[in-house]
């Protein structure tokens, strides 16, 4: 069983403070981490490997710094890593990113599963996972919440959809994007860290993945950003402090008035 896990390095946001003036995140000095939703993909892959044997390869497109993310994934228990890095990749939209990663995976070759996180917490598009599957012509299960079985070249999964779950079966090789429900990611161990430290991670450019230069970076991206702007969302509505029975009743009165006025009841 050979499993490829595409991951992305993103800015760490859980400890980020909001700038009260502008209503935006303060991003100075923010460190980079593995996209938190990719951790579930990594965990899923490692568990499958532990059960069925084989190899887990993480692949990431990004600057040199993204090696940190790959090494962290190896410290968690992945076997190998590949970094797709080249100046020509810069400015890629989801189409061009999917193209590069899919070509990288083709180069790895001979894989059974591609497992992606649901989406990245920075770009938030959830398009690269399905994009990779499309380039590789793979059957796909998005929003996968459980792996039910894997045998005879088929994988049976449950996926989270509106109002419940769907079960589908895919022929291998196949692609999954997974949601948080699927697993609890493990922590990197000392042994893993030591192994990752010693490992040489190959860095692939366009020539290593048979990429058509026309499809790379900004040139290969069908979309263009017209502008970026910051919405200001602060309302600072009325605030009532509950101190005793009396103020408690007043607070509940206020909520009732609000609900009635806005016709929620």
């Amino acid at each position: 069983m050979k499993i490829v896990v595409p991951i992305k390095q993103v800015p760490e946001t859980s400890n980020v403070k909001m700038n009260p003036e502008t209503g935006t995140m303060v991003r100075e000095g923010v460190e980079s981490i593995i996209n938190p939703l990719d951790l579930y993909a990594i965990e899923t892959a490692i568990r499958l490997k532990e059960k069925f044997g084989g190899q887990v390869i993480v692949i990431s497109m990004g600057p040199d710094k993204a090696l940190e993310a790959i090494k962290e994934a190896i410290a968690m228990g992945c076997d190998d890593g590949i970094l797709l890095s080249d100046r020509k990749f810069a400015g890629s939209d989801t189409w061009a990113t999917s193209y590069v990663i899919a070509n990288g995976i083709k180069q790895i070759g001979d894989f059974d599963l591609v497992i992606c996180g649901e989406r990245a917490t920075d770009g938030d598009t959830a398009q690269v996972g399905p994009g990779i599957a499309s380039f590789l012509d793979l059957p796909l299960s998005t929003f996968t919440s459980e792996i039910l079985s894997l045998n005879d070249g088929k994988i049976k999964v449950r996926r989270l959809v509106e109002g419940g779950y769907e079960e589908i079966e895919l022929e291998l090789p196949a692609a999954l994007t997974v949601v948080k429900e699927i697993s609890d990611p493990r922590l990197p161990t000392l042994r893993g860290k030591l192994k990752a430290k010693k490992m040489q991670i190959p860095v692939w450019g366009p020539q290593n993945i048979n990429a058509d230069e026309e499809n790379l970076g900004l040139k290969g991206s069908p979309t263009r950003v017209v502008k970026i702007f910051t919405p200001k969302v602060t309302r600072e509505g009325e605030k009532i402090v509950v101190k005793d029975e009396k103020t408690l009743n007043e607070a509940v009165d206020k909520i009732m008035d609000y609900l009635i006025k806005k016709e929620f009841i």
Partner: protein
């Protein structure tokens, strides 16, 4: 022996600090000044009046007035203390320093901050962070406590293994004595042996010897990186034996070495739904390292991690980014909250034993726990031998039964064992009035007599924070 606060005295106080800085005859507003973070209601006491002065001169006048009328004065910081130190047990005046909350100076050339006592401790670090500086004092309540309270309690906390406790960073104090004199002790000088070390007599005096109005704090370069190790051990003994080895074999001083017994981390992990394989572990250490380069820290965590693995650790987890670091610190930080789900009534203790005696201490704790059928999760700062042994009320006891067991049997017994092991009853929370009756267990009579003599010399009328410490 003390006089009541009369409306006339209140008028005089208003004269000193202004009308809006006096709270009188207002139960709701004063209630907040009747207790600190000690959970049990029995330790609370209402003040007669609350005053909020803005300067040393005002405080001096208040103290002179209090001496004149024989009214007790209890100084108060943020009220985040854990020994009842800011509770006006004799009534009288509560003197809150909340208005004195200015950072007066950041002196980058001398690496000193000069602050008023009502500054929130974390605020100092927020202000100097961008200059690459930090203040190493780090009580766990860092986001709410005042630096004045930290100095009064000589607060410890999470970074003491490497950085020591609050007192190490205090180089000068402006102090109003109980009789209303204003003293200027120390300053920005790095060395000073001119006379007795009055600064460190004041540090940790729990508001019984003087009220700080200005504090000189030594600043340090801010470390740029940190790494955390979560190490699982099969038992407490194996875990504790690692602690001195880190320093002797590893030649490394971690920022903190936090210890959790199985009762602590199992409850916390279950509460957090944490899925690391904790069930097979009997003890955990959380070791934090800080430094300026990732490479340097990598070397250090390898040394410590290998040391742990060679000496019987089940597993060593490494957290070198915010996601993983937050995940493992959550286990340590949620112990108290997790236990609250079992029972909200807990007595947070902070006993200290020599590090090597921790396993023996834990055995004694287990025996006491069994004897009274009271769970006592133990966690805390293993690197300092400072353990938060926390008796938690078994829901089967009534409140009355619980308080009786706790105060008359369990705590005295626990303290006795601590002292027999060469330890003491409080490492960072202080004596206040919560542990006052137990002081004589820990100190010899002559010591207490010296303290009394000092107190008499500075506070002849026994006005300042009576009922605390001695």
């Amino acid at each position: 022996m003390y006089n009541k606060v009369t409306p006339e005295i209140v008028d005089e106080l208003i004269e000193i600090v202004g009308n809006k800085n006096v709270i009188y005859n207002n139960f709701d507003a004063m209630e907040a000044y009747s207790h600190d973070e000690v959970a049990e209601k029995s330790y609370a006491h209402m003040p007669d009046v609350v005053v909020k002065p803005s300067s040393a001169e005002e405080i001096s006048k208040i103290m002179k007035l209090a001496n004149k009328y024989k009214i007790p004065v209890t100084p108060r910081g943020a009220g985040s203390g854990l020994s009842g130190g800011a509770v006006p047990v004799e009534g009288g005046i509560v003197l809150s320093v909340e208005k004195m909350n200015k950072i007066l100076e950041i002196d980058k050339d001398n690496l000193m901050a000069v602050v008023e006592p009502g500054v929130v401790t974390n605020e100092i670090n927020n202000v100097i962070k961008d200059d690459g500086l930090f203040y190493a004092g780090y009580p766990m309540s860092v986001e709410t406590c005042y630096v004045g309270g930290n100095v009064a309690e000589n607060a410890g906390g999470g970074r003491a293994v490497k950085y020591g406790v609050t007192g190490r960073y205090i180089y000068g104090l402006e102090v109003v004595t109980p009789t209303g004199e204003i003293l200027h002790l120390g300053g920005k000088r790095m060395k000073d042996v001119t006379g007795y070390d009055l600064i460190h007599l004041m540090v940790g005096s729990e508001g019984t010897l003087g009220i700080f109005t200005k504090i000189y704090i030594k600043l340090m370069p801010l470390p740029q990186s940190k790494v955390d190790l979560l190490v699982l051990f099969k038992d407490i003994d194996t875990a504790i034996k690692i602690v001195p080895k880190i320093m002797t074999f590893g030649r490394i001083i971690p920022t903190s070495i936090e210890f959790m017994d199985d009762l602590s981390f199992k409850t916390s992990c279950k509460y957090l739904n944490e899925k690391i394989p904790f069930e097979e572990a009997g003890a955990m250490l959380l070791i934090e390292l800080d430094g300026n380069s990732k490479a340097e820290l990598e070397e250090q965590y390898e040394v410590i991690g290998n040391l742990c693995m060679e000496n019987g650790a089940i597993e060593v987890y490494i957290a070198d980014n915010a996601t993983t670091s937050e995940r493992i610190w959550k286990i340590r930080r949620n112990i108290a909250e997790a236990w609250k789900q079992y029972s909200p009534d807990q007595s947070l203790e902070d006993v200290v034993v020599p590090i090597s005696e921790i396993p023996k201490f834990m055995e004694k704790v287990r025996k006491i726990s069994e004897k009274y059928d009271v769970p006592i999760p133990c966690y805390g700062h293993a690197g300092d031998g400072n353990i938060h042994a926390t008796p938690v009320k078994n829901p089967k006891f009534t409140m009355e039964e619980w308080l009786d067991i706790l105060h008359h049997k369990l705590l005295p017994e626990l303290y006795k064992e601590v002292i027999n092991l060469g330890g003491t009853i409080s490492g960072e929370h202080g004596i206040g009035h919560k542990r006052r009756e137990f002081m004589s267990m820990a100190l010899e009579p002559a010591q207490i007599e010296v303290m009394r003599a000092i107190k008499r010399a500075l506070d002849p009328n026994y006005i300042l924070n009576p009922g605390k410490v001695i």
